[in-house]
């Protein structure tokens, strides 16, 4: 990969090599918002009790058994800092699971996909896209490639490494099950070369050695080699057209955590939790927690502080702000009871630091040298400022993965990634408006054509009726004339 940044943790930083599982919470918060940010509705009545793993709405799974309260506006971990309608689930402490029978191997693909949807399996790499839809698109292709993405390239995010290190055998099993199901012509297990402990754990696993179906691809530890579009183009040499997803080209690129979630779902337990790495802003201390979706943020941080003195100290120093996501791709938010969701892979205690006020861009093209997608951020920046969509399209804004490398190297401290997020939003908004306009136009043309047609028919019908009436009047006159003649001929009759 050209460009990118070789980011490394501080030399003497410590990583707690043990996964701590969060105890059961009193209440869980389940936002009623889908992947495309549409508001969801559910047929469950407030006060109804649910079991663990029960699907309340599309993609929303109850993390534990308890009673469902009414929807209420609640904080949501999203850069918009908006409040969204959220279901509150009061745990009853029993944590009884919804009985889900493990699926046999020879079950049809459709059953497997519906099981994934019901179990709420979502991408854990950060995008949170529904895995069932992704697999469904890949299965339409005969020539399929499976890429297991264990490239955790952002420093301060250790959950994939911890997962592979501590559950190596089940990870291999999960990979084999997925290979069994998808039958890809080629399976690549992409991992970074600075995760040697995880690589050793996986390669020394017995089942892997018996039937080595995975081919290992170790990549140099350069951020952001883990971005899906970049990884797919790099490993398969395939050039994705603008807005074309890897799945549409028959390549299933899936995070190693998601592979585990698929394996668990097929074996009967819903995707209700994930691993999260919690660390301090300067990445000196990192620990890994297993957290259920919907757990409030402050509970997670309090528990992390209880497990690790370094984190406790950090939380004590800045108790108000936390960065959700990695050091480069994360966003800052206040510490409150906003729920942890599938897309959140890391928490950094402390506010994300504001760089100096930006000065003018001198077009030095440092950002172009580090851009992993081979773009010209300085041209995109000028176009984004003047909101010129043609030029944004000309310089391929859609290929930008918002990795943040250009922000790091910009000598004028310009928030380039935030400009590109704004530009992508404005381009998407205009595309939506154009689609609505096209729909409204066809409907109004059809409406006009129908009204015209209706008027034409009415005119023709009137014409016929009038001529018929005239003919009828004419006929009546003839009859009367005939009767009059008859009367005159036979006066006495």
């Amino acid at each position: 990969m050209k460009g990118g940044l070789a980011l490394s943790r501080p030399a003497n930083s410590t990583i707690d090599d043990q996964i701590h599982t969060l105890p059961l919470q009193a209440t869980y918060y389940l936002p009623a918002v889908s992947y495309s940010r549409a508001v969801l509705h559910s047929q469950y009545e407030p006060g109804q009790s649910v079991l663990r793993g029960e699907s309340i709405a599309q993609g929303v799974i109850a993390p534990t058994s308890g009673t469902l309260r009414a929807q209420v506006n609640h904080a949501w971990p999203h850069p918009s800092h908006l409040e969204v309608p959220t279901w509150e689930l009061e745990a009853d402490g029993l944590d009884t699971a919804l009985p889900l029978a493990p699926l046999a191997q020879n079950v049809t693909t459709q059953d497997k996909l519906s099981r994934l949807t019901m179990a709420g399996v979502q991408g854990l790499g950060g995008a949170g896209f529904s895995t069932a839809k992704k697999i469904e698109r890949v299965l339409q292709h005969t020539e399929r490639t499976l890429i297991i993405n264990a490239v955790e390239c952002e420093p301060g995010v250790e959950c994939d490494r911890m997962l592979m290190q501590s559950h190596a055998s089940s990870v291999i099993e999960a990979c084999h099950a997925l290979v069994e199901w998808i039958q890809p012509t080629q399976t690549l297990f992409a991992i970074e070369d600075d995760k040697q402990s995880a690589i050793d754990a996986l390669t020394s696993d017995k089942t892997h050695q018996q039937n080595p179906v995975l081919t290992w691809v170790t990549l140099p530890a350069v951020y952001p080699s883990g971005a899906e579009s970049l990884l797919v183009q790099r490993l398969t040499g395939l050039h994705l057209a603008p807005n074309q997803r890897a799945a549409d080209a028959g390549v299933l690129c899936v995070n190693v955590g998601t592979v585990m979630a698929i394996y668990n779902a097929l074996n009967g337990n819903a995707a209700i939790d994930r691993l999260i790495s919690v660390s301090t802003q300067d990445l000196m201390h990192t620990t890994t927690l297993s957290v259920r979706f919907g757990t409030p943020l402050n509970a997670v941080l309090k528990f992390a502080a209880s497990q690790h003195t370094g984190l406790a100290e950090a939380l004590r120093l800045n108790p108000t702000a936390v960065q959700v996501g990695g050091p480069l791709s994360g966003f800052s938010r206040p510490i409150d009871n906003a729920p942890i969701l599938a897309g959140c892979n890391a928490l950094l205690i402390g506010p994300s630091h504001q760089s100096q006020p930006p000065s003018a861009c001198i077009r030095c093209a440092e950002c172009a040298t580090v851009c992993p997608a081979n773009l010209l951020p300085q041209e995109l920046y000028t176009a984004a400022r003047s909101d010129d969509h043609d030029v944004l399209k000309h310089y391929r804004l859609d290929a930008c993965v918002l990795c943040g490398c250009c922000d790091v190297v910009c000598p004028a401290h310009i928030p380039l990634t935030q400009w590109f997020r704004f530009a992508k939003g404005s381009v998407a908004e205009q595309a939506q408006n154009e689609a609505d306009a096209a729909l409204a136009r066809t409907r109004s043309e059809q409406h006009a054509a129908r009204v015209e047609q209706r008027a034409l028919e009415k005119a023709v019908a009137d014409e016929q009726r009038r001529s018929a009436a005239a003919a009828a009047k004419h006929a009546k006159a003839d009859i009367q004339a005939a009767l009059a003649r008859v009367k005159r001929k036979k006066p006495s009759a």
Binding site: M1, K2, L5, A6, L7, S8, R9, P10, A11, P155, G156, L230, Q233, R234, H239, Q281, D282, L283, Q323, P327, L328, L348, S352, H353, S355, Q356, P357, S359, A360, C361, I362, R363, C364, A365, E366, A368, N374, L375, L376, Q378, E379, H394, Y395, R396, V408, V409, P411, A412, H413
Partner: protein, 371 residues
Amino acid sequence: MIPALQSYRQANPAQRRDTTRIMTRVCWALVPGTALMALWFGPGVVTNGLLLILLCVLFEAGALLLRQRSIRHGLNDGSIVLAAWLLALCLPPAVPMFVLVIGAAATTLLGKHVYGGLGQNPFNPAMVGYAVLLISFPQNTTQWIEPQWLGGWFNPDTWERVWSQITASSGVTSAWDAVTQATPLDQFRTATHAASSATTSASGMSGMSGMSGMSGVSGVSGVSGVNGSNTGIGIGSATSIAWISLSAAWLAGGLYLLFVGLIRWHLPVAMLAAATTTYIVYTVWMPDITLPLPWVLFYGGLIFGAFFIATDPVTAPSSRSARLWYGAGIGILCVVLRVHSNYPEGVAFAVLLMNACAPLLDRVCVRDQPQ
């Protein structure tokens, strides 16, 4: 910047810079050349530099004030100091004050602030200032004195001229009494003109010659069109040693910038390569040109232009292939202008012409090849 990346920035010094540091680094790279020039041409070079920097900073402050922008923030990126310094190096020592004022105004206002400040000007500000001065005051911008090692510093006449410059008194306007021989490039140009006996040298502008373009000693004294005494421009004459040592100093500064990673090799290499090939084509096409090849690079401002003027990131194109074309364009135009046009040293015009092509080059050379 997220502290986690401080370790990254410490690990990669190239990433530790910001705009101010870039500009100051380039100024440091200019110091050896300027010092050598001051030694050869006397204190006038230093006064040129200081006065111009002062005037440009004043104009910049005024412009920022007019646009209600914070003067401190605007000034501390040092870009105007660099532009003023580059312009000062193009002018003969101790030019009169009005030339400096108009040059500073052209560079700061016309070159940069009319387009909205740093980063938005299509033309290199120093070259805009220089072109304006060159065309409006041909006499003052091309009358160079003969380079004497440390000579200028002990000659009372130089100090008097410097004093008249500073006090802006127009006392000393008589031509230099020590008018010296033609510059190597000027000789080179008149040789070609004489050879092709074209009529143009009789046109109005021809009397004025020897546009130093950061170099060259004017020999043809003013309008009379009489060739100066040519005490030879062969290797080893005082003039050639001065200019070669100066170009060597600029090369040293340029390599330092390249080594530190402030500029990329594409542009200077493309420019020098294109200049050499064009020159070779000319020697084939017009056999009467005698100047041996290596000296073409070292005489005149080619090296100075390649490393300091053309590599101004604001006015150069920003994608890799576009920079190669841009450098090649400047190299070719520079030699063409040297051979043909009235001004023996065409770096200033070549840079301005290619600045005009930079936006088009950027649009055309879009990097759309896949990974």
